[in-house]
Amino acid sequence: MATASLPDRTLTPAGAPRPRGIHLGRWVLDGAAALSLGFILLPLVLVTWLAFFRQEIPSLPPEGYSLRWFGAVFQNRNFVGGFILSLQVAVAATAIGLALAVPASLALARRRFRGRGPIATLLLMPLVIPGVVFGTAIYVFQIEAEILTGLPLLGSTAGLVLAHALITIPWVARLVTASLAGFDPAVEEAAKNLGANPWTTFRRVTLPAIRPGLVSGALFGFVMSFGNLEMSLFLVGAGRTTLPIAILQYLEWKIDPTVAAASVLQILLIGAAMIVTDRYVKISQVV
């Protein structure tokens, strides 16, 4: 999906006087855009600023600046351990999400079968179900599954990964489906006609075509899993924490800027991932 561009000024025929309303309309639109951008950026700017405050209790104006809270993050075992677990879970969940959602999207885009519409909607469900509801449901499910099979699912990393895979699926499915929308199935037929078997056709023709959707879907899925709190709260094992849980636990006792520093590190990590990704696919062209 390309970003829709607003009607260009040049559309006005040369020489014809431009109606006043268009001028005003542009001002309103530009203003609204600036306002929403500010609304998004303000908290990020504040938290970043806060991370550099010297004093322990955040208050304005700052008494001075310091980097010591960044050091504190790395000395906190909960933060470091949580970061590692979150990273592991997010990577594994994204991999599983890709493995499931890519074939599903291909089937949904290519084949006509009964229940195609409802299934396409169901794939996006994890996006709209509140995290707490989803967490409870999976918690109950894992208890029942454990009783039935005897496998230690609840509290295990595997259980957490499987649950997180559910959050990555809608992102991958949505974005891969979007990049398939503009892709002519005849191109795949052309490959087969020229001697490529189905696997080669997928690897050489389909995969390059859906790569933008795949990469950006994986990125978003990763970010959503990495930042997920609600589901993880239910599923994480005793004595283990993901980074969001570690932050929450820390906040119960202290409000010093260590948490802000941890957030800044997360923002940097995700920002770096987006920049790297953007070198391969222009995310703005897909989402």
């Binding site: 037929e189 490959a191 080669t200």
Partner: protein, 349 residues
């Protein structure tokens, strides 16, 4: 290269028969065109030859190989798609070399052969471009080169010109035709455009409702259409509805009694007349009838007039534009004539 043989090839989708018992023998090197309105089964037939549609009955042979249930990638057909279907992320040269790569042709030979194929379509200079940097006509020529590079047993063209504008269409059409001749490639083309079909084909197959209505050369189809559908689809005809009252006599619904070669037809029928076979003015033909001009179209090289012969019966007449001044005016009384053999009688279905 090889001939193609279809034997009672059929495709059903549930209750719906898309193609019914199509049998065709296409000799090596022939340019065959499947012609028909949309939904007539011509594309399904072509896709069965390519292997994209599995038939529910009958057999397909290419050369002496039974390919009926062979997947597309084992058939060695070269297909050109309506939408070009170039690989968007590969350069022109990579597109053309793709089939050779799949055949594990070593790189030096692969490059030589794809250059050669591009030279055939006069695009060797654009080898490094991406498809989106080419015009529609160029893209279609790349698609053609890509299909030719693998030296297919049979070339399959699925409405290859319909996405091009009129001028390009003619250019690419001539190009396809010349290449086909030059390479002696067995070719099957699908089109709904009869002008296109008539100019390139060695032989034509007219299809409707999943069935072959007539197979023949251009003249056969035009002069001796097998049924009313073919008479209306290939070239233009006006139809007078009525009945054959007795051998040699056709009576229209409006009460006209016309001399015609009725060839064994008796009872309800229609009489087809080609607009250019009718004459205006006293001509001394078997049929000479008074009429009134209802409508005149100026088409440049020809003039077309619709003439009312009776309250129920109208015919279209075509006159060469010799003087630049329309010889007919609306409301004018004229005399229309034609020899009996110009009228084709078809029994009502």
């Amino acid at each position: 290269m090889a001939g193609v043989e279809l034997d009672r090839l059929s495709k059903r989708y549930g209750e719906q028969a898309a193609v019914k018992d199509v049998s065709l023998r296409i000799p090596d090197g022939e340019f065959l065109v499947l012609l028909g309105p949309s939904g007539c089964g011509k594309t399904t037939t072509l896709r069965m030859v390519a292997g994209f549609v599995e038939p529910t009955g009958g057999t397909t042979r290419i050369g002496d190989r039974d390919v009926t249930y062979l997947p597309p990638w084992r058939r060695n057909t070269g297909m050109v798609f309506q939408s070009y279907a170039l690989f968007p992320h590969m350069s022109v040269a990579e597109n053309v070399a793709f089939g050779l790569e799949m055949r594990k042709v070593p790189r030096p030979e692969r490059e030589a052969r794809s250059r050669e194929a591009l030279r055939l379509v006069r695009l060797e200079k654009l080898a490094e471009r991406l498809p989106r940097q080419l015009s529609g006509g160029q893209q279609q020529r790349v698609a053609l080169a890509r299909a030719l590079a693998i030296r297919p047993d049979v070339l399959l063209l699925d409405e290859p010109l319909s996405n091009l504008d009129a001028k390009l269409r003619e250019e690419v059409r001539i190009e396809i035709h010349d290449l086909q001749r030059q390479l002696g490639l067995t070719t099957i083309m699908v089109t709904h455009d009869q002008e296109e079909a008539l100019t390139v084909a060695d032989r034509l197959v007219v299809m409707a409702d999943g069935e072959i209505r007539q197979v023949g050369h251009q003249r056969d189809l035009y002069e001796r259409p097998a049924d009313r559908f073919v008479a209306g689809f290939v070239g233009r005809s006006t139809f007078l509805e009525g009945r054959v009252a007795e051998p040699g006599l056709f009576e229209t619904a409006g009460g006209l009694r016309l001399k015609a070669d009725t060839e064994g037809v008796l009872g309800p029928a229609s009489l087809a007349l080609r607009p250019e076979r009718l004459t205006v003015g006293a001509g001394g033909h078997d049929n000479q009838l008074p009429g009134v001009v209802e409508f005149v179209s100026y088409l440049g090289a020809v003039l077309e007039a619709r003439v009312r012969l009776s309250p129920e019966d109208r015919v279209v007449v075509q006159l060469p534009n010799r003087s630049g001044v329309p010889p007919l005016a609306i409301g004018q009384s004229v005399e229309i004539g034609w020899p009996r053999e110009a009228g084709l009688v078809f029994a009502a279905a």
